[in-house]
């Protein structure tokens, strides 16, 4: 009987799910070390990303549970996920999702990293705000972001804090970056723009994290700022010139690796949702209007309901939107027809993000075993 070389066995292993691979660590020591090899893990991940396999939506239900929904296959399947903190149910919001790792944050601002496929999780060390006075009295904005830096091959989490003083001034701005490799925080150069909302999570695209901010306290128009995960520098990116007439709201998203802008226009007769894509990173002229979707049926809805684009279909001909709190639709870019995604038991959704199953490991020194946080220091 023909025997395959180990290299060919690896070629075969690339096509397997994370669960199968975790189990096959038991086949032999060589298989175990190959499956845990960082090169193999990257190969497996890049295969999944390229062919959009092992992708699903991860939803946070009301309550504490997370559910993974596979919208790419037919029929759609939902799978309840083991809560990262096990039995200690806690309300966790999804801060970011990258390469199979999810960053989650609780009400006490404790941050966790979780790989739902390998079922490993870790808590991030806490870090103070470097401001001496009784900073807790001042209103503040805290913006976060999570992503991967291919240059240092590291996963980073960014936290920006801005304390607001009176008269639209600000008292303190600081930015810190957490690195998974070193499992510690470090302060970086202060940023000089304004955060208005209480909390925001960054959008990951082009190896950078993005938020909408104000350039000066007096600005009325929001600007897009990007944080390059490699150089750890901020830069402003120009948005397309939107027709301001009837513009109701706009926001940034990421889709298919591109920065994406959603703009909703409302008047008494119409609701139009536009989706723009920045084809070439940093180039204003490269913003292209992908979709202009007329949705008069949303007129009667509570004004803040907008449709949110989530992902492209496998062959890029459709866009998945979440529309109100528990409906998903596929919008066909060619025919402009809308197809409801029939998922049974889609709960009321609070958070939704895209996630890919991967073997990406966390920091082995910081892993939570049996949902207990290891001793610090």
């Amino acid at each position: 009987m023909a025997t395959l070389s180990h290299d060919l066995a690896i070629e075969i292993l690339r096509g397997l799910s994370v669960k199968d691979l975790l189990r096959f660590q038991c086949v032999s020591k060589l298989w175990c070390s190959s499956i845990n090899d960082s090169y193999f893990i990257k190969l497996h991940l890049s295969d999944s990303l390229k062919t959009i396999t092992n992708h699903s939506l991860i939803l946070r239900k009301s309550g504490y549970d997370f559910v993974s929904v596979n919208v790419y296959d037919s029929p759609k399947t939902t799978q309840r996920l083991n809560h990262p903190l096990g039995e200690q149910k806690k309300l966790l919001k999804i801060l970011g999702s990258c390469n199979g790792l999810l960053a989650l944050i609780d009400d006490d601002n404790r941050i966790f990293l979780w790989n739902p496929s390998t079922r490993k999780s870790q808590v991030l060390p806490s870090t103070e705000i470097d401001f001496s006075s009784a900073s807790s009295f001042f209103p503040r904005s805290t913006y976060y972001g999570f992503g991967y830096d291919p240059i240092s091959d590291d996963y980073k989490l960014v936290r920006m804090v801005q304390l607001h003083g009176n008269n639209k001034g600000y008292l303190h701005s600081e930015a810190k970056v957490y690195s998974l490799r070193s499992n510690c925080w470090r302060r970086i150069k202060d940023f000089c723009f304004y955060l208005i909302l209480h909390r925001k999570f960054g959008i990951l695209a082009n190896n950078a994290l993005h938020w909408m901010v104000f350039k000066t306290p007096q600005s009325w128009k929001q600007n897009l700022v990007g944080f390059d995960l490699g150089t750890e520098e901020f830069r402003f990116l120009e948005l397309p010139d939107l027709c301001l007439d009837k513009l109701f709201c706009y926001d940034i998203k990421a889709m298919g690796g591109y920065n994406c802008l959603t703009a909703t226009f409302r008047d008494s007769n119409d609701v139009v949702a536009e989706v723009w894509i920045m084809k070439e990173y940093g180039v204003k002229e490269s913003w292209v209007k992908l979709i202009s979707w007329n949705q008069p049926h949303l007129l009667s809805c509570f004004p803040s309901v907008v449709v949110v684009p989530l992902a492209f279909s496998k062959n890029g001909d459709k866009v998945l939107f979440s529309s109100d709190v528990h409906t998903f639709v596929w919008y066909d870019l060619g025919s402009k027809k809308v197809e409801k995604v029939g998922i049974r038991d889609v709960p009321i959704i609070h958070d939704v993000d895209l996630y890919v199953q991967s073997l990406v490991p966390l920091n082995s020194n910081a892993l939570m075993i049996n949902n207990e946080i290891p001793p610090q220091g």
Partner: protein, 246 residues
């Protein structure tokens, strides 16, 4: 030289000679390299490939070349179907195809055959993998136990040969289960659903009954229906819909 009707001669390990069109033969990067760098008139020896395997490989290459060149009116879906049928062979042949595709450097065939084997081994237990790949278990009992324990949940609900795994079922959802069982399917799950059927019977049915075993043994078993059955290459998909909570 360079016309499309140029032929290349290939001699296999068992001394069979094949004469093929250059366009077909150079699907193999190895043959392409030898042809472009060696003497184009003499025969190219493909030492590690037998006549039977090369014959199959040439069929594959010809099909793909013709379809790409538009010589054959075949849609991408039909080509995909053709590929799926192409790999419906016994394991020995499949492995031989992988070895040959690797040595001849035919990337698309290597991807196809490797993915076929991947589909075959999905859901299997480590012991079965060792048999399939002829691998010696070099773990000590303690070491293997430790690895198993660390990923205990990945082993849950794996029964004997022919066990279908239902993962993490939430009630009232459509769930998909994949098994690569050969003869009989035994279905076990977190909420104690048990079903035994033979695969051949499953393939012909439009729906099958699944019995839920309730926690309380005195409660009668609840019957559910499997709504859809797909028999794939080396696996079966069953789509369940559970109507009621346990």
């Amino acid at each position: 030289m360079g016309s499309t009707s140029t032929k290349i001669k290939l001699r296999t390990s068992d001394q069979k000679v094949f004469e093929v069109e250059k366009a077909v033969a150079v699907q193999s990067q190895t043959i392409k390299y030898i042809y472009e760098n060696g003497c184009p008139d003499s025969v190219i020896h493909v030492h590690s490939v037998s006549g039977d395997i090369l014959s199959k490989i040439l069929d594959y290459c010809k099909k793909h070349v013709n379809s790409a060149a538009g010589k054959e009116d075949i849609s991408p879906e039909e080509l995909y179907e053709w590929d799926a049928n192409f790999v419906k062979v016994d394991q020995n042949t499949l492995f031989d195809l992988i070895l040959a595709a690797n040595c001849l450097k035919i990337e698309s065939l290597l991807d196809l055959t490797c993915q076929t084997v991947a589909n075959m081994i999905k859901g299997k237990r480590p012991e079965e993998i060792r048999t399939t790949f002829n691998i010696k278990n070099d773990y000590t009992i303690e070491a293997e136990e430790a690895v198993r324990r660390e990923n205990k949940w990945a082993f849950d609900m794996l029964g004997g040969v022919g066990t279908m795994v239902i993962e993490e079922l939430a009630d009232d959802t459509m769930s998909k289960c994949v098994t690569n069982a050969k003869s009989r399917v035994c279905v076990i799950a977190a909420n104690q659903i048990v079903m035994m059927r033979s695969i051949s019977k499953l393939a012909n049915k439009k729906s099958i009954d699944v019995y839920k075993q309730p926690q309380n043994p005195t409660t009668p078993r609840i019957k559910e229906s499997v709504k859809q059955i797909n028999v794939g290459t080396g696996f079966i998909e069953l789509f369940f819909h559970f109507k009621c909570k346990m």
